[in-house]
Structures are given as C-alpha cells and as structure tokens.
C-alpha cells in the first residue's frame, strides 16, 4: 500500500513539528489508537484497533521508530504492527515546508506492506481504509493545531 499526498497546516512549521512528535496528540489524532507512548527516544509503542471490511476491530501492537530527523524539516518512520489477524510493515517519509502565508505544507510518502489474514480478506479495502484513516488523522491534527495556537478547543 502506497499512501502519498500533501496537506497544508494553518500554522508555523515548528508548532506542526512539535505536534507530530507528541504521542498524546498522535494518540488522539490516529483513528483507533488505544494507547501510544514514547518508550525510548524516537520510539513510539502502542496499540491500535483497525477495521478492514470483514475484519472488524483487529488489534495491532504498533512500534513506530523515528529516523533521519532534521527538525523541523523532515523525518522518516519505520512502522511495525503485529496482531492476531496479520501484520503491517513499512516506512513513511514526512517533509514540512514553510509557506509564504505562514502555513506549513506537509508532504508525505509511505510504502506499507500488509500481510496475513487481514491482507487476504480485506485486500480490496485496505487502500481505501488507509486513505480514510490518513484523512481523519490529518483533520484531527489540524484541529489540534488550532487548539494549540488559539488555546480554545471550541473554535470550529
């Protein structure tokens, strides 16, 4: 599964950077995240619950390792997820570029392999589920960003 795209955050790059490194924020933003913690430097561990087609609420133990960090410009992630219905494994790259209007353009690419039962019965849906989760996560991050900048959780 390859997920690539861009997303514009309405805020300065350093704030976006901090947001993307904060396990509390990420746990809230990533759909299905039950737990997420920074266990050692640059290593997040947690539990995610994902539903793909006929596989409902599959639980994965997830380890995300951050690599090649150039704050606040770019970082890479090594993603490893394991669960009763299969596994996910892959890499992702994130780049943050300052925009003239003060916003931040995030460009992301990822190549994630999905294996085991979840791949064999949910194959037709994996990519769309991946895209949906990504969109939900980015929307949640954008909301979080607004909260940080404005300090008001109720701003629409």
């Amino acid at each position: 599964m390859n997920l690539t795209g861009t997303f514009t955050f309405d805020g300065p790059r350093t704030v976006v950077w901090d947001l993307l490194q904060d396990p509390v924020v990420l746990a809230k933003a990533l759909p299905g995240t039950e737990r997420l913690a920074l266990t050692t430097e640059d290593r997040f561990e947690g539990v995610m619950k994902v539903s793909v087609g006929p596989v409902t609420a599959a639980t994965f133990d997830v380890v995300v390792t951050l690599k090649d960090k150039v704050p606040p410009q770019r970082f890479a992630m090594q993603i490893d997820g394991k669960g009763g219905v299969g596994f996910t494994r892959g890499t992702a790259n994130v780049e943050l570029a300052e925009q003239p209007d003060g916003g931040t353009l995030m460009t992301y690419t990822s190549d994630v392999q999905v294996g085991g039962k979840i791949a064999s019965v949910g194959q037709r849906l994996i990519e769309s589920v991946g895209k949906m989760m990504m969109r939900q996560a980015l929307d949640a991050l954008a909301r979080e960003l607004r909260v940080r900048l404005e300090g008001n959780p109720h701003t629409p």
Binding site: F87, V114, G115, G116, K117, A119, S120, V121
Partner: protein
C-alpha cells in the same frame, strides 16, 4: 451409443456378465446411485460428524509471513489460558519432528535432477509460506483454541519472498531452501526423435510463450482429522478426509512406532477430493493422531475455509516457451517446449505434475520429434500437488494453442489441421518413447481419434457455424466464436488395488476395497460390476471403501484410477466368488458346474429351476458348523483379488464450445458446450456424465474465474470466496455429451478413467473460441485464466497495435 475398436470394426460391448448368463447387465446402464439416499437425507458420515466423549479441539498458529526466520515462539500465555490442554511448538515434538515422506519418487529418467525438500509437522527455523503451521493448540473447545492462537507470540524476521518463477532462478533471488544452490527443485529433459533436425526441415515454425496460473481445488468439504487412542483395544483410530487411507495408515504407523495392525484409518464420505486430499501427510494429519496419543483423549481438527486457502495444496503455475515446427501442409514435424513449474515451498509429491504436462502435450497427434524440458521452482507459496487434471491441462493448452496459431497463419481450417495430424486407428499401442508419471514409458493403449473429432464438430455444427452463422451474426455486430480442442489422458495407473467380495448368509453381498470415495459414485459402480457377475440386484450389494479395517491393501483414489483399477479388482473377486458358488452347488447337487445357471440370486440346474440354492444358502453351507471344509477349498462365499496394470489406459476426447464475447465489457457467455468422450467401457453413463459436468465446471472456473493472487511478498490477496471467484450455476451452461467406447486392452472390462477429463482441455477450447469470436488477427490468448479483466486489457492492447 457407438462401440468401436481400433480398426473401426464393431466389437461386442462388454456386458459385465460372464458368458452364458441371462441376466440383464447393470454395467453400461444408468443405475441410480446406491449412496444417494444417505447423502441426500443427511445421514452420511463425514469426518466432522465424528463426536467422541472427551474430545479435544485443535487450532493452529500459522505464519503471516511468506518467508522469514522463525526467531522465537512464546506460548506461555496460551498455555495459561483456561481450557487450553496443550500447546505444541516444533521443539515440543522432539524426535517426531521429521520431514514428511517423499510421496512419489521421480521416475527413472536419464539426467534427472531432483531435490526433495518436504515439510516438517511444524515450522522450524524458517517459515516458507503464509499459513505454514507454527504451533498447535489443543483445548476443550475450538473457541478456546482459536482464542489461544492470539496468545502465542511469534517473532519472525521477514525475508524477501520468492514469488515470480523466472525471478526465482536469478542469481540475486533469496533462496527458499538455503542448503540448495538455487531455487531449482528439479530439472528434467525428455526427448523423442530429433527436434532440431525436424525444425531445420520445417516450412513454418511457431514460437510462443504461454502462462498458466494457480487456483484452489475448492472442495466443498475442507480437510478434517479426528484421532482416538483406545487404551483398552490398544488401537489408534483416525478419521481423515484423505483420498488414500491405506498409505496414510501405513505411514502414520511407522512414524508413531505402532504396528500397522494397531492403526485404523477411516475415510468416510468425503466432500470432494480433486487431488489435494491425497496421501499428503499434511502437518495436521501428522499432528492430530500424535496429540491424541500424547494426551490420551480424542482430538479433532476441522479446517476452516481460510485455512484451506493457505494450507491445502494448490496447483497450476507454469510458464512455457514453446515451439512447433510444421510442413506447409500443416503436418507437425516436431514440438519443443521448455517450461518452469511452480512447486511451492516444498515438493513432497515429486514431479508427477510436470511429467504429466510433458506427456499430455502430445495429445492425439503424431508428433515424431519432441524436446521437452522443465525446471521445477521452489517459491514462497503454498505447496503444489496434483489438482484434477494435474498438469495435463498445461500440455493440452500449449499444443492446442500452437496448432490454432499455425492454422491461422497458414490459412488452414482449425479442425482440418487437427485431422491431418491425428494418430490413425492402426497406430496402437503407440509408444511415445518418453517416461510417464507412473515410471513406465508413455504408451497409448488404444484410441480412435478421428470419429471423436468428427462427432464433436458435427454436434456443435462447426462447418455450418463457420460458413453461415458466424458471418451472419458478425454482420449483426455480434462477436461469436467456436472452439474445438482434443486431448488424450493417461488414466488408471498402477500399482494395484484389491477387493474382497463376500456373500453373507442373508444373501446380501458385501464389497470392500481400499480406495476412498469423495462423491464419484464408487458405491454404485463397484456394486454394478459385482451384481452382474453374481447375478444379484445391484441394491443388494453393499460397498465399503476407505476403511483400513475392512480392506488394508491398496493405494488410493487419484489419477482417474478408481473405476479402472479397483473396479477391475472387484470384477476379479466377484468372478472368484461366482466360481466358488458354482463349484459348491455342483458338488451338493451332484452335477457338473457347467450344467448350472446363476440368476436372481440363485444357483440352479439349467432347465430345472427348482433344483438349486440361493446364494445366501450356499454361503451358509460354505461355512458349516459340522463336517469338514474340503481340502483345497476355503470357507465362506468370499474371495479377495487384486488388479495391477502394467501401465495406465488412455482415454481421449474432444471439447467444442460456442461463445459470445462483449468486447466492451470483456464478458464471455458460453452458448453451448459439447463433450465427446471415450473412456472405454462405460460402467454407468449417468456417472460418467456427472464426472464430465463437474470437470467442465472446474475447467470453466480455471479458464475464466479462478486465480490465486499473490503479491510480491507472497501474501495471498484473495483467500475468501468473496474475492476468489468460483463459477456458479449460472456460469456453467448445459453440457451436451456423447460417449464413444474404445475398450482398453489392459483390463478385462476395457475400462479407462474419466474423473479428470472434463477440466483438461477447457482452457484451450475457451481461448480458441474467445479469440475466434473477436476475430482480430492482432489478438491472441496465451494465458489462463483469462479473466474478464485480463481479456479487457488484451483487447485494448491489440487495438493499440
């Protein structure tokens, strides 16, 4: 029904009854199936119907990775779960963890290279395909066992997977078996004549590359094993969905260190075999009986459908580079074919499939020069063993497609080019000078090919269709096409089968044989054969198959051999019982045996029907409580006989098909499907037709719908019937059949096999018809399956050229 011998002269049909008998024969008639009352009312026992007191249930932890190093298996949490009785990993098996036997050693072919790498009961050190079992959970219920699967923590270091056959042989390819120098599992060259010399004389040489991909056998019943160790009887009973209970009994006895007499394997009713349920010694088959002995309680495992997609063997991945050399008249001078054969992660079944491919490519044609060479390739995919057709369809696809392409290039009619190349009826027995899968040279025993082809062309209306109908429909904008393809099938191979026929004092006749039954109708055809010989009602003959306690010598149901080999043994045993009954009655009635008739379950003096005995009476008198059984005779009306042919008998046939293709959606509608088939003497035309119908449905699936899609990391992407498409009732047209009977000289009854025939030429005939329907010279089908999607891409590509 026509009956012909090799020289075309009519021969008396085999009647099933010995000379002088007056009974109406059951053989060659549409006798209703003896087994259907039980099957249709739900009273037939399948393995999953076996419920025993105290029975435990099994679930397996299987690999999610196609290829990886198995670093650790932590089963501690699973063992602690309430209701879990035992968890076994490879380490826990101790000395029992040995590679499974090599089931079919390769035939003696000069220069043959073969590396045997068979599976272990549980993965050790490495995993080599998705679904390979890593640990076995035994629990009080299947629910608990399944939950405990999630408790096991398996640490696998993923390795790059070997998926593509050609890339697998590259120098950089990861190796499935690291002790080997490459992923080549075998290399075999067979030659007849001198292809290179033939090629140099040729007017036309057609060179093409052909692909055939994998499918599942998709039997309606998944695999299942139940085992019980009876401590008082000191007997291990195993109920197993196997096609070959006797080899399983023998192998398990050896592995478990038990005498064969202490192990009983029962293959009750089995819901479809199609090859993968052969004597595989699957991990589950090895482990369930072992666990039952370890734990002293009955143990059961039933495969679920998803496991079946990973863990039950599959077939059909091959890549061919083939060439046909012809004269300008369209006569074949020779064929050269070099191919790769995907054997999956292990190769326990040896080289049966690719050798079938080599042999079946020759078809009904006179091919004087032949070079055939293959490399078997290990991949990180499920193990490959024969599935109905077992490599034969690939050979037929290659030769039939080459003939089609040659015919088109030379402007020769497709039926005509075939007629010019058929072996004539005076060419039998015909030695092809290469080795067949049964380690005997490929010799066609008999056949009469031209009338088979002519009859198929006539039934489908080939000439009229090509001349009138196709142009007319094309003018209306319809894309209709006709296909016609021939095949020859080696069937009924040895080594042997046996049967015991017993007349009971009640007059009922019992027949026991070792082959297992998977729905073919064994309980009927064997009863027909025996009923004719003993002149009793067919419903009075009770057949028992697949229980080693009932009959313990034989091999199994495969290679379209049940009716031919076990049927011939039933016939021989029934004849022996008949002789015994006549001899006893003659002694008691003080007449010569020749003066006796046997009819309606009685033996009596010819012309004096009241002077005689029922067979039941004779059975009682043959087992007296006082007096002596005469020296040289044996008690009871019972006999056991065996039949072992030197080589298999050769069936043949022609499939013809009319299709309509919608070039916009690439959907194909099959308008008509005709099968003209020659399986020698027919025991039961209804059952032969049933075999053909099922085979054609299987073939249509292979040709158009069914394909196992593996990604580049060896993940199977469509392991469910949502995504893996089986043809349904609406996809399979009514099938028109015609029978021809050229008896085999290799057995008394003249039998040839039919179980696989329906699916062998289906891909070839389908491709030809679809190509014909589109009528675009730029467009050629060189791969199977040709799904609507693939077809659409081919059409689009051809239009771009």
């Amino acid at each position: 029904m026509s009956v012909e011998t090799n020289d075309g002269a009519p021969a008396p049909p085999f009647t099933g009854t010995p000379a002088g008998s007056k009974a109406t024969p059951y053989v060659n008639s549409r006798v209703q199936r003896n087994e259907d009352a039980r099957l249709l009312t739900g009273r037939a026992r399948f393995v999953d119907d076996v419920h025993l007191p105290g029975m435990l249930h099994v679930a397996f932890v299987r690999s999610d990775y196609a290829h990886g190093r198995l670093l650790s298996v932590d089963a501690a949490a699973a063992r602690e779960r309430a209701g879990v009785v035992a968890v076994y990993t490879s380490e826990d098996l101790g000395a029992y963890s040995k590679p499974a036997p090599l089931l079919v050693p390769p035939p003696p072919i000069a220069g043959l290279v073969f590396h045997a790498c068979t599976h272990l009961p549980l993965a050790t050190g490495k995993v080599r395909h998705v679904g390979e079992p890593i640990a076995m959970i035994v629990a009080e219920s299947r629910y608990i066992a399944e939950d405990a699967v999630r408790d096991v923590v398996v640490d696998i270091e993923p390795l790059d997977a070997v998926v593509d056959l050609e890339a697998a042989l590259g120098p950089e390819a990861p190796r499935v078996h690291e002790h080997l120098a490459s992923n080549a599992a075998a290399h075999v060259v067979q030659r007849k004549g001198d292809y290179e010399a033939a090629r140099s004389r040729a007017d036309v040489v057609i060179t093409r590359r052909f692909l055939y991909d994998r499918g599942a056998s998709a039997a309606i019943e998944n695999r299942a094993v139940v085992a019980q160790w009876d401590t008082q009887a000191e007997e291990l009973t195993i109920w197993d969905t196997t096609q070959a209970p006797i080899p399983i009994r023998n192998g398990l006895a050896t592995m478990l260190g038990l005498p064969e007499s202490q192990v009983r394997v029962v293959a009750p009713f089995v819901g479809g075999g199609f090859g993968p349920k052969i004597m595989m010694f699957y991990p589950e088959e090895l482990l369930v009986p072992w666990a039952a002995m370890q734990l002293g309680r009955p143990v059961k495992w039933t495969e679920d459908r998803q496991e079946n997609f990973y863990a039950t063997t599959q077939e059909r991945g091959q890549v061919h580079e083939a060439e046909m050399a012809l004269t300008k008249e369209g006569l074949i001078l020779g064929v050269s074919d070099t191919f790769l054969f995907d054997t999956g992660a292990y190769d326990p079944y040896g080289l049966t499939i690719p050798i079938n491919t080599q042999c079946t490519l020759l078809g009904p044609y006179d091919i004087p020069n032949y070079h055939t060479e293959f490399t078997a390739v290990f991949t990180n995919k499920t193990i490959v063993t024969p599935v109905r057709g077992a490599g034969r369809q690939h050979g037929v696809f290659v030769s039939e497609r080459l003939l089609d392409i040659a015919a088109r290039q030379m402007g020769i009619d497709r039926v005509e080019i075939r007629k010019r190349n058929l072996l004539g009826p005076d060419r039998f027995p015909h030695n092809h000078e290469i080795m067949f899968q049964d380690s005997a040279p490929l010799v066609y025993d008999s056949g009469n090919y031209l009338p088979t082809l002519e009859q198929a062309a006539e039934i489908i209306g080939y000439e009229q269709f090509v001349r009138d109908e196709q142009p007319r429909l094309r003018a209306e904008g319809k894309h209709v096409g006709v296909g016609i393809a021939c095949y020859v099938e080696g069937t009924g191979i040895g080594p042997y089968e046996g049967a015991r026929v017993t007349v009971e004092p009640s007059g009922r006749v019992r027949v026991a044989t070792g082959v297992g039954t998977q729905g073919q109708g064994h309980y009927t055809v064997f009863a027909q054969i025996v009923a004719d010989v003993l002149a009793v009602e067919v419903t009075n003959v009770q057949v028992i198959t697949g229980d080693t306690r009932e009959f313990q010598w034989g091999t199994g149901t495969f290679a379209s051999r049940g009716a031919v080999v076990a049927g011939s043994a039933c016939h021989a045993a029934a004849l022996a019982v008949r002789e015994k009954a006549l001899a006893l009655a003659a002694r008691l009635l003080e007449v010569e045996p020749a003066a006796l008739d046997i009819e309606g379950g009685r033996v009596f003096v010819r012309g004096a029907a009241d002077r005689g005995f029922t067979l039941g009476d004779l059975a009682g008198k043959a087992n007296p409580l006082r007096g002596a059984v005469k020296p040289g005779t044996k008690p009871g009306l019972e006999a056991t006989e065996y039949f072992g042919p030197d080589r298999g008998s050769t069936a043949n046939g022609v499939h013809a098909i009319l299709v309509e293709v919608d070039p916009e959606t690439a959907m194909v509608e099959i308008k008509r499907y005709v099968v003209v088939h020659d399986c020698g003497t027919i025991i039961n035309p209804m059952l032969v037709e049933g075999q053909i119908h099922g085979g054609v449905a299987h073939g249509i699936g292979n040709a158009f719908y069914e394909q196992l899609i593996y990604d580049e990391q060896g993940q199977l992407l469509n392991a469910s019937f949502m995504d893996y498409l089986l043809p349904t009732a609406t996809d399979v047209p009514p099938i028109e059949t015609a029978h021809r009977e050229t008896p085999s000289p290799y057995n008394v009854m003249g039998l040839k096999g039919v179980g696989e025939a329906g699916c062998i030429p289906t891909g070839a005939v389908f491709a030809q018809a679809v190509e014909d329907a589109l009528g675009d010279p730029r467009f050629e089908i060189r791969e199977i399956p040709i799904s609507p999607n693939t077809l659409f891409n081919l059409i689009t590509e051809a239009r771009r050229v």
